[in-house]
């Protein structure tokens, strides 16, 4: 997928990464966090980025780990930490592909196709959520003040990219008109 270069915002696709979904009871959440090297699993609508890993909250007992490909056997490491009767661990690496939208106008682009409230009073760096971009379900995470990571199922990737590119074109059109 071609990168969209522009003054105010940039859309790029991210390399393939290992993704492990896990559900875990309250009793084993601490050992899961220890296995990932983080102090605790992230709370509601939050994610933690540490040591190249991303751990995202997906639901009241459910998280998603995103890690660089091929470094560590995260699935078995998490399964050992959680214990057989305290949760479930599934490798979902092929489930989603990633985009990164960055730049001062990134939030304006998302406003063109996503109803989630991304205003700083409601969202911000460290925030994540499962929501819709146009009609496609996505996981959205804000990694810094002007950068969003978007995870989408591969069959919807072209559709979401088209919506985002349209938003980018709109923002750049406005930027030119302002000159």
């Amino acid at each position: 997928m071609a990168d969209s270069e522009g003054m105010a915002v940039r859309l790029q696709s991210l390399p393939q990464a290992t993704q492990v979904g896990f559900r875990v009871t309250l009793a084993s959440q601490m050992s899961a966090a220890n296995a990932l090297g983080i102090p605790a699993l992230p709370g509601v609508n939050r994610f933690i980025g540490a040591g190249g890993l991303l751990v995202l909250w997906l639901g009241p007992d459910e998280w998603l780990l995103i890690a660089p490909d091929g470094m560590v056997e995260w699935e078995s490491r998490l399964r050992n930490a959680i214990g057989a009767d305290q949760g479930a661990v599934v490798d979902v690496s092929a489930n989603r592909v990633g985009f990164e939208l960055s730049g001062p106008a990134a939030r304006d682009v998302l406003a063109s196709c996503c109803a989630l409230d991304l205003h700083p009073r409601a969202f911000g760096p460290g925030g994540c959520g499962q929501t819709l971009i146009a009609k496609a379900q996505v996981i959205l995470a804000q990694t810094d003040l002007e950068t969003y990571r978007i995870l989408v199922r591969p069959s919807f990737a072209n559709y979401v990219a088209a919506w985002l590119e349209d938003g980018v074109a709109g923002v750049q059109g406005h930027a030119k008109a302002d000159l």
């Binding site: 509601v44 639901g59 109803a115 409230d117 499962q130 929501t131 819709l132």
Partner: protein, 90 residues
Amino acid sequence: MLLIRCPWCGEREETEFRYGGQAHIATPRSDVDDASWARFLFHRDNPAGPFAERWVHIHGCRRWFHIVRDTLTHDITRSYLPSESPEDAG
């Protein structure tokens, strides 16, 4: 467009949810007579006013929950977990 509060994720737009009908319908024992079974399957309240109903946050956390929605005004007065009753939810 409704703004619905998922008890886990917070307020989200209606498009992220699917409707699940009236809440608090208890499944009867399987040996009830046909009339009771038919009532359980097909009969639902249809009030003009507050109505406890099931929703699922299908494009979000995928969890089921209940809300109390006024069918005349669309005002949502409560949002609560399936394990709670509409009375004790805040």
